[in-house]
Amino acid sequence: MRTDDLIDLLSTHVDPVDRHKVSRSILVAVGLGAVAAVALVFLMFGARQDLGHADAHAYIGAKLAFSVAVVALSSVYLGRLARPGGERRVSLLVVALPFIAVMALAGLALATAPPSHWDDAVMGDRWLECLVSIPLIAVVPFAATMWAVRQHMPTDLRRAGALAGLLAGGLSATGYALHCMDDSVPFVAVWYGATIVLCAAAGALLGPKLLRW
């Protein structure tokens, strides 16, 4: 095939291009992932019993602030990584900010608490449930975020995969927070933090396979 023939083929009847396609597909993935995560949490566990109480709102709000920050930052960055060369516009430090903040707060909480409470504060009642649930609930959001990135042309597949995993983990944690009764900041820092990072690691591993074009 001659290159000029290919160019002729490609430039016959050119339609205007939808410039918001990248951000829209990621928004759709976030929406789908959030609905799937919340629905799964309600089906598996039901909402926490005191969801109607004002006290609970403060606790849930703090957890949501962390997971929603992860979701917001990773969706913005995923919108960049889905484009060729977008990896130049991504800073690892910024992505890590919510994790650094929650760890700092956890450190502060532990420092001001008597050491006898540390065990309770870090392990909570249900660390194992959290450890299993967040990655499990993240499966559908993960499929959604990967599907979104696959429609575009990431050139750093590992990083794009990691961010898609991070976003899925953040969405899953947001859903799980509506059920989880462990409200201490150290618990959130350790178990939410670790499981979300695990999702990102899975994404980094699968990215080069799933995102090739």
């Binding site: 095939m1 001659r2 290159t3 000029d4 023939d5 290919l6 160019i7 002729d8 083929l9 490609l10 430039s11 016959t12 009847h13 050119v14 339609d15 205007p16 291009v17 939808d18 410039r19 396609k21 990248v22 889905a82 484009r83 060729p84 060369g85 977008g86 130049r88 516009r89 575009h152 042309m153 050139t155 090739r212 074009w213």
Partner: protein, 185 residues
Amino acid sequence: MHPIESELKALMVASLAGDARAHRDLLRKLSGYLRGYYRGRLTRMGRGVSEAEDLVQEALMAIHVGRHTYDTAELLTPWVHAIARYKLLDFLRRTRVSATNVALDYAEEVVAVDDSASTESALDLGRLLTTLPARMREAIQMVKIDGLSVAEAATRSGASESAIKVNIHRGLKALSAAISRERTP
């Protein structure tokens, strides 16, 4: 700003708005730079000219199919360079040459050499088209090769205009993927 950058970017912005002539101009100009880029790198590795032409066509396909991923707030050259380099590394991976042999390069290098001496690639468009589902193949044949308008193609095939457009888009995307697969040894 690099003069080539502003020229190419203006063409790209017009092409994104649906200007077919600007789109053709852009692809023509880019094909020259891409040829220079690939020939330079492949000959250094002892590869042939026709492989460079294959890569030029693969990159042009990707640029066309994925032009929605260009953010007009950014420079165009780094975007083109990222695609060109991705395709180069992908090619080397498929042909089992270690990527460590590829020197680091910078965005401007993708427009450093303009080489208009095109050759024929090993790709056979007619044969590749037969690998596509019939709906897509017919839509591409009617609009992109026979030059019918989308409306004419819709009447002739009994499909809606939007179905024709979707089939062309999906077909070109599938074609682009088929080309990459084709060249896997």
